[in-house]
């Protein structure tokens, strides 16, 4: 007899290293009572060190596993066609120095930008003013502020794009890569709409 099984992949899953991921972790399942518990316990993937920190599992792999489990199963998939598994090394701990650093950065960054706004976007005057506020002296060239500022400019861009030459600061895709991808998607959807004569029909064509 045929079993009908409904599968809905979850969107995102967080696991620890060296853990085995079961079908119940990656998807919601609706099936016959007789096989439900067995289906839940099908191992889908064992996390190894080679996987680094992101794994994507396609629904086709799940269907293949189910077919290997029982030939008579008929699978209906609903929802997203893949799951993103995120491997988290240690318990999520917020690092206090990191937090303080970002807080400090946002605080002074926001202060400087609003001072710039008030001074009619004259960076030089603002920097002289900051120098006077902190030290009480007047200096027309406060290089002790300006040189770290200049280096910080480059540092800020590198942090934002998450790239130092080929080396990445961490594994997340950089906004630039996401942007390239989105641009390519836009081009692709334009091409698929405009090169395909059947996709649009005007009144005079009928």
């Amino acid at each position: 007899m045929d079993h009908l099984v409904y599968i809905r992949m979850r969107h995102r899953l967080q696991v620890k290293p060296h853990e085995t991921v079961f079908l119940k972790d990656v998807a919601q399942i609706i099936s016959d009572e007789t096989i439900y518990e067995k289906l839940r316990q099908i191992p889908v993937h064992s996390v190894t060190d080679k996987d680094r920190n992101i794994i994507v599992i396609d629904v086709m792999k799940i269907i293949r596993l189910l077919a290997a489990f029982d030939q008579t199963i008929e699978v209906q998939t609903i929802g997203p066609p893949q799951i993103i598994i995120e491997v988290i090394a240690k318990g999520k701990k917020i690092s206090m120095p990191m937090f303080m650093l970002i807080w400090f950065l946002l605080f002074f960054g926001a202060a400087l930008t609003i001072m710039n706004f008030h001074e009619d976007v004259s960076m030089q005057e603002v920097q002289q003013k900051i120098y006077t506020i902190i030290t009480g002296e007047v200096d027309s060239k406060p290089l002790i502020f300006q040189i770290p500022y200049s280096l910080g400019l480059g540092l800020g861009m590198i942090i934002f794009f998450n790239h130092v030459f080929k080396k990445r600061l961490n594994e997340e895709p950089s906004p630039l890569e996401v942007e390239m991808f989105n641009y390519q998607l836009d081009l692709d959807s334009y091409v698929s709409m405009n090169e395909n004569k059947e996709s649009m029909k005007n009144i005079d064509d009928r």
Partner: protein, 132 residues
């Protein structure tokens, strides 16, 4: 007084809108994995704006060592650098440029040219150009 308050609200709202369009705060929390602290980051920006406004308009004087300026300068520069990076990203400069000249793989070198250009230009301005 009412006019002052009204203009302050307008400017503050504009500032926050600008920050959120550029998405700098989410980017930083994503890099440092501190998603839970995002409210404190909002307060950092708000307090920074208030502090900056007071510093610009009241001219207080603290009379402390000028070396305090080094980390402050670095923080300000990083913030402005991120603003610039976010702006070029919003305007889609890099993806289009890379596609046009066909260097999809070497986009980080383009980026580095940009970064070094910014640093060099800034240093040039403060050290040489201003005193000319």
């Amino acid at each position: 007084m009412f006019i002052g308050l009204a203009s302050g609200i307008a400017v503050g709202a504009g500032f926050v809108a600008f920050l959120s369009v550029l998405g700098i705060i989410p980017r930083l929390t994503q890099l440092t994995k501190t998603m839970k602290m995002i409210h404190y980051y909002e307060w950092a920006a708000v307090l920074g704006v208030i502090g900056g406004a007071m510093a610009a308009l009241w001219n207080p004087v603290f009379s402390i060592s000028p070396f305090v300026l080094i980390p402050i300068g670095l923080a300000c520069g990083t913030f402005v650098g991120m603003l610039a990076a976010a702006l070029t990203e919003v305007l889609n400069v890099f993806p289009i440029l890379a596609k046009r000249i066909g260097v999809d793989g070497q986009i980080t070198y383009l980026l580095m040219a940009f970064v070094f250009g910014k640093v060099f230009g800034s240093l040039f301005q403060w050290i040489y150009f201003v005193s000319k």
